[in-house]
Symmetry: C2
Subunit: 275 residues, 2 copies
């Protein structure tokens, strides 16, 4: 069975529609490419009880990985670690290793800007205050360390919400972990585009091709206007053998293309629009 | 207490990172503007059990509104209504009113394209097959009707995933409903931008200003690189009285700006980067 993951995004800015959740897309795409199936994305507010509740619920479903993003910074509303501590039923404590990481960041900052020493105030110590029994993870581009907890069924990792920091920590520390978990699995995908065929006409054709090509998942995405049907048809397969995957996808594409042309649809090479 | 809402987005394309979840942002922004607080966004796969589970969990939290997007179309993987029926413990049935809606759409389609009559095949009838005790809601720009269920605590509405369809149904049918529920509440927001101040320096200043300005929520968003701090600081308030809200936000902005300048930060007029 494929290893799987849940993503919890913390931040009021997501729930008021101020910020587009590009973090969830980025993480989903990277995890999927490595062969890890993302089963759920949850967005919650900057509230301890909301975060704790989402983490508890995710852990109960026993995914191999839970990744949170956001809420690790120095301000009053950075509450992710407090929420995680509550979900894990443990305390927050100043972690010596994390404090060293934070201190080094501010020392480097002062050195580079030739300013006076940056004092370790309460908001700065807060970034080194993490749940008991968790480990800080180095943040190569920002100040707040990420946090990792190895639990019974699940590895839980809390990442910052700033995209450059989240992405850097993911590539440095998490991607290798996911690769190890997924073996050599990888996600393979291809799209074709068709004009002049309604999704409701396409539906039984997709059924047939999926039935004839086990392991290939096919999904249609309407991209045109109501009376000018334009479809993207997406083929995907997660497998350890890239060559077999490509062959399988190609076989399914050829079969579906032929069925579309027989239904007076037209398979076109490029896409017209996309999201 | 503010009326609140949860959003459930259904679609594998979101979980593999193929599609950016602009629907969740659009709905969150519109609901927030009307004065409805979005408490949670959940993204699940095109699987009946996953959808049913997410709907059940959302209903247990008793929000005033649950909106789902995606999975109303004619293909095998459009499973949202099956998931909702399972969560509500009821059956799916061909709804006469929904069937009339679907039929009229295909008749109009055939008329406009001067093609022969479009047959009501199984995939087309599927779009009119909705849970018992729910009502179809007219889709002004697409074929699949939306679906509404008035439950004990919650109004549950299933919208299509195609953005133009989702948005049109929202504006026509849901926005008026939300406005009625929120009274005359509305969301007011303003941002200022500051250079040369670290988030950890800003943190206690925000604490003070929020303490002095009840009802104003302030959140900092780091936008610059590690060693060139650039902050967006976002002020918001949900209230029935626009004039008071503007005054309140302005008062908080003046106070925080002054504190930032005293900490040798610089408040700048425009933004440098944004998400």
């Amino acid at each position: 069975m494929a290893q799987n993951m849940e993503i919890i995004c913390v931040g009021n800015e997501l729930l008021i529609g101020k910020t587009l959740n590009t973090n969830a897309q980025w993480l989903s795409k990277r995890a999927t490419a490595i062969g890890i199936a993302v089963k759920r994305v949850i967005v919650v507010a900057d509230e301890v009880e909301e975060i704790a509740c989402a983490v508890r619920e995710a852990l109960q479903r026993k995914p191999q990985f839970v990744i949170t993003t956001g809420g690790l910074g120095p301000t009053f509303d950075d509450k992710t670690l407090e929420g995680i501590a509550k979900a894990l039923n443990c305390k927050l404590e100043v972690n010596a290793k994390a404090l060293r990481m934070v201190k080094e960041k501010y020392e480097a900052y002062a050195r580079e800007r030739r300013t006076e020493k940056v004092e370790l105030t309460q908001p700065r110590i807060k970034m080194a205050t993490i749940p008991e029994k968790t480990e800080p993870v180095s943040n190569p581009v920002g100040t707040a360390p990420a946090v990792r907890a190895d639990l019974n069924w699940t590895i839980l990792i809390a990442l910052p919400g700033v995209p450059s920091e989240m992405e850097a920590i993911f590539e440095e520390t998490i991607a290798p972990l996911l690769k190890q978990a997924s073996g050599d699995s990888a996600f393979h995908e291809k799209s074709i585009y068709a004009n002049n065929i309604m999704e409701s006409t396409l539906a039984p054709l997709i059924d047939k091709v999926m039935h004839d090509n086990l392991g290939v998942y096919i999904k249609s995405h309407p991209r045109g206007e109501e009376n000018e049907p334009h479809m993207e048809i997406h083929f995907s397969s997660t497998t350890k053998d890239a060559e077999t995957a490509e062959e399988k996808l190609q076989k399914a594409i050829v079969q579906l293309s032929s069925l579309i042309e027989k239904s007076s649809g037209k398979v076109v090479s490029g896409k017209k629009t996309d999201t």
